[in-house]
């Protein structure tokens, strides 16, 4: 793989192919992109977003709510079909029997995981990479591309072209019932559900098409001449039994059930007050979407579910983070950016914290228990477009107690940088309000200002806090990762994956550890978005990262 890193060097000589952290070096492993023939995003209409899909047999020990697990053979053939259909010559060769006969337990995947985490470990048989079947799904202009995460091949293995509209957001759930798994939100407001990533027996076509030609958005919008408000974000409800939600630019979120026909007549009462939050359930029981959440009158820029699916966080143009009890249709709390729109949000896997990033160049950390902002990260030189907790990272202290003392998270920005942060809640310094001019921070020994102690009221939206009241944190690492502005990052078990607005992907391998890779890979290796990385059993707790 030295050749690939050489190619990296020649392409962008000013960019480093690694960055250092206290636990070691992250190395650029692979780059992925789409064919150069694809038009550059024109005026940002199709900012590339990234979804990771893990096609793999599921261990039977994983006591998930999913009742019908497709046979491993079926999954495998689905993967083969998916990959083969695009370009025959690149079809991956699945080693016969390798996966099917393999005992399904956590330890069985050590080989693959360790091989990948060696970074340049070219000794690893290719079959093992394929075996893991982890794919990157990303959009660029009017096309959705699928690349193999663990292959050194730069080009996608498959592409799905949309003739009428640009795909703008997508979501994947490997555990959704029935195997329809990939959701795609379009610029026209349409939503497409595709089964091709998992269901073996079907053709590679859209299984369902919801909100055709943006019809629901039109029906109740009165005379505003917008042909369906564009999709901005999409997500499966974790543990939601095939329920998913779609956020739109007009401030609405629609809730769908994947099994229901999307063509039935569906109507919602007119929105009385555009500025007020209101949930409306569909009049007809046949309707799909089944509910409309009117959040406010501006764009919903991002949404994220807590890993148990009970809480939904949204961020938008008005700069507010809103956290809802999803089942009760209720606002739990909300707070505002320092200024400008919020662009992204993410939950910690334990549901205690939420990250937001936005047009004030700040990364904000919110406590769901205190219902307020607890820290503010300064380090980006432009808007923060992606945030994520690293749920695969844990501190030595976390052993046994199950309590995370330090949280690791990352952020990417339009300044082309990837930043990593450590959030140590007991080291957070609350500035004193009546300090000397310039607000010099006082250390933990001093008593925090009284105004800071208050817990915010349930169901209320808090205004922007004064910048001098919020504890500041600084990044652990700031790395110029790409030449273009970035749009998203995702942590996997072995790597950090970054994507630029124009659809260039870089995979940064985690530092390799001298001591057992076994312990590190004993945790669930499913590299998925943070909403799905709940621990499967209490016994497997990652203990591989230890400061020396």
């Amino acid at each position: 793989m030295s050749s690939s890193s050489a190619a990296v060097n020649s392409q962008s000589p000013s960019l480093k192919t690694y960055f250092k952290t206290p636990e070691g070096r992250y190395k650029l492993q692979y780059e992925k992109t789409h064919p150069a023939a694809v038009l550059h995003y024109s005026h940002g209409k199709a900012v590339s977003q990234l979804t990771i899909a893990c096609l793999k047999e599921r261990p039977t020990t994983q006591a998930s709510a999913t009742p019908s697990i497709p046979s491993s053979g079926g999954v495998r053939s689905a993967a083969a079909r998916l990959l083969g259909a695009g370009n025959g010559s690149r079809a991956l060769s699945f080693v016969g029997g390798n996966g099917v006969s393999r005992p399904v337990s956590g330890s069985s995947r050590i080989g693959g995981s360790a091989g990948a985490s060696t970074g340049s470990g070219s000794s690893q048989p290719v079959a093992n990479f394929d075996d893991k079947g982890t794919y990157l799904i990303f959009n660029s202009a009017d096309t959705l591309f699928i690349s193999d995460l663990n292959s050194q091949d730069k080009d996608p293995i498959k592409s799905i072209h949309f003739s009428n509209s640009n795909p703008v957001c997508h979501a994947f759930d490997s555990e959704v019932k029935g195997g329809h798994d990939l959701l795609i939100g379009l610029h026209t407001g349409d939503v497409s559900l595709r089964q091709q990533l998992q269901d073996p027996g079907r053709k590679l076509v859209a299984a369902h098409h919801y909100n055709k030609d943006g019809s629901i958005n039109n029906r109740h919008r009165g005379r505003v001449a917008v042909a369906g408000s564009r999709c901005t974000c999409i997500a499966w409800v974790p543990e939601g039994d095939g329920t998913f939600v779609v956020g739109h630019a007009d401030g609405n979120i629609y809730v769908y059930e994947r099994n229901k026909d999307g063509t039935a007549d569906c109507s919602f009462p007119a929105i009385k007050d555009q500025t007020q939050f209101a949930v409306a359930h569909a009049r007809s029981p046949k309707s799909n979407p089944i509910a409309r959440w009117h959040i406010y009158q501006g764009s919903i820029n991002s949404l994220s579910f807590s890993s148990d699916g009970t809480c939904l966080a949204t961020v938008g143009r008005d700069g507010y983070l809103r956290v809802f009890d999803f089942a009760k249709d209720q606002l739990k709390f909300g707070g505002r950016s320092y200024y400008g729109a919020l662009l992204c949000c993410a939950w910690s896997s334990d549901g205690k914290y939420i990250l937001t990033g936005g047009e004030d160049d700040l990364v904000q950390v919110w406590s769901t228990e205190d219902r307020k902002i607890v820290a503010c990260g300064e380090g980006h030189n432009s808007w923060v477009s992606g945030v994520a907790f690293d749920s695969y990272w844990s501190t030595p202290n976390s052993e046994g107690t199950g309590e995370n003392v330090v949280y690791r998270f990352g952020s990417v920005g339009q300044d082309t940088q990837l930043l990593l942060w450590d959030l140590a809640m007991d080291e957070i310094v609350v500035p004193l309000r009546c300090g000397p001019p310039g607000g010099s921070p006082t250390f933990n020994s001093g008593s925090p200002a009284a105004h800071w102690d208050s817990v915010c009221v349930v169901g209320s939206l808090q205004p922007s806090p004064s910048i001098r009241d919020v504890p500041k944190i600084s990044p652990l690492v700031a790395h110029r990762a790409h030449v273009d502005p970035l749009s998203e990052l995702i942590f996997t078990n072995e790597s950090v994956v970054t994507i630029s607005r124009e659809g260039h992907i870089k995979i940064w391998m985690r530092p390799r550890h001298a001591e057992s890779n076994e312990s590190s890979s004993s945790e669930a290796v499913v590299p998925t978005a943070s909403v799905k990385d709940r621990p499967t059993t209490s016994s497997i707790k990652n203990s591989s990262f230890s400061y020396k």
Binding site: H43, R223, Y339, E359, W383, D415, P437, S464, V483, D484
Partner: protein
């Protein structure tokens, strides 16, 4: 002078939402006068400024026709727009443009001019005229008509400007100052005796150096970053009575009511021996707060206008302006006025690649203060 070419389309687009009493008029181009038109449109939709000008017009009409100057030409133009019977159309700013050319030889040629230079020239010229009038009024005590009383009147576009203590008397403060003037303080800390020397200066706009893939927030941060004076460039400390190493930084002491940010997109490149246009991607948020202030950092600003430069070089190209009026964004391109969506604003951020087909770049940004954050 009114030509209703583009009117109907915009009126249709706005429909019933056409704001009561508002006028959206394009401005005729007299050969490379887009630098002037783009700035005029922004100033017209800078509501406190427009209201002051129209007040001035009302008050001075009674006095009779005084000598023509840039201020009278501008007030005539503004009142001409605001008193149009039609809601949309095109107006010729001929008299104003002629006056500009008469007054300043820089703008006399048909060459492409710099909109920022023009804005600066215009504001300073208006201040000079008001100052002269005030002096003349003070000399002849019977007339104390317009300019000084105006700041107490209501301002629709934000809170009325708080009068900074002492500023009113000396130096002379006009309503131009009330809208646009802020105060910078240049703090120099001697590294030997730790004494901080502060020197204040006023500004009508902030000129910011820009970097590729950055934000206005980041440019403002750099503007106020600490600079160390050492080696050849030491600081003479009055207390130490000698040249000393020192740290210097610029802070905003009094944030202006209307914050004008000029992006230095035209940069002299030494090895080229000429100015080059920087097409860097510099994102600007719809709302902004100044973190580099001496106190009270939480005043929120809202973007209400952008002067956009279109073109690849500094010596040619075109200017248009984007203006927010009654919560709609409008695109003013000389005679043409169109409605645009706020979500298309990112087209004017610039380009993250050196060579790009997109050459429309935000050049001067206008933010209005929303007062203290709620």
């Amino acid at each position: 002078m009114v030509m209703g070419a583009t009117g109907s389309k915009l009126e249709k687009a706005l429909g019933e939402q056409f704001p009561e009493g508002e006028r959206y008029f394009g401005l005729e181009n007299f050969g490379n006068t887009c630098y002037c038109n783009s700035v005029l449109q922004v100033l017209y939709f800078c509501i406190p400024f427009r209201e002051q000008l129209l007040d001035y017009y009302e008050n001075n009409k009674i006095v009779g026709d005084a000598e023509e100057n840039l201020l009278t030409c501008l007030t005539d133009l503004f009142s001409q727009i605001s008193s149009q019977k039609k809601k949309t159309g095109v107006i010729s700013p001929r008299r104003f443009v002629q006056r500009v050319k008469k007054q300043n030889e820089l703008f006399r040629s048909y060459m492409h001019q710099d909109a920022h230079e023009f804005l600066n020239f215009l504001l300073n010229e208006l201040v000079d005229i008001l100052e002269r009038e005030s002096n003349a009024a003070n000399a002849s005590p019977e007339a104390s008509s317009s300019s000084s009383s105006s700041s107490s009147e209501k301002v629709a576009n934000g809170p009325s400007n708080p009068t900074v203590n002492g500023l009113r008397k000396d130096p002379f403060v006009t309503w131009v100052h009330d809208s646009f003037q802020g105060i910078l303080t240049n703090e120099t800390r001697c590294l030997r005796c730790e004494t901080v020397t502060a020197r204040d200066e006023t500004f009508f706009d902030l000129s910011l150096d820009i970097e590729q893939n950055s934000s206005i927030t980041s440019c403002l941060k750099n503007f106020s970053s600490t600079e160390t004076l050492n080696a050849e460039d030491k600081f003479f400390c009055d207390k130490c009575c000698s040249l000393q190493e020192a740290q210097k930084r610029m802070k905003i002491k009094k944030p202006p009511s209307i914050l004008v940010i000029h992006l230095k997109r035209f940069k002299y490149i030494e090895h080229l021996g000429r100015n080059k246009k920087l097409s860097y991607r510099v994102v600007f948020p719809m709302e902004l707060k100044l973190m580099n202030t001496v106190e009270d950092p939480d005043t929120e600003y809202s973007l209400f206008a952008v002067v956009v430069h279109i073109g690849t070089g500094p010596n040619h190209g075109h200017y248009v302006s984007l203006v927010k009026s009654h919560n709609h964004w409008l695109y003013f391109d000389d005679e043409t006025v169109e409605m645009i969506d706020e979500s298309t604003m990112h087209k004017y951020f610039g380009s993250s690649q050196e060579y790009s087909s997109n050459t429309e770049h935000g050049y001067i940004l206008f933010y209005e203060s929303l007062g203290k954050s709620s």
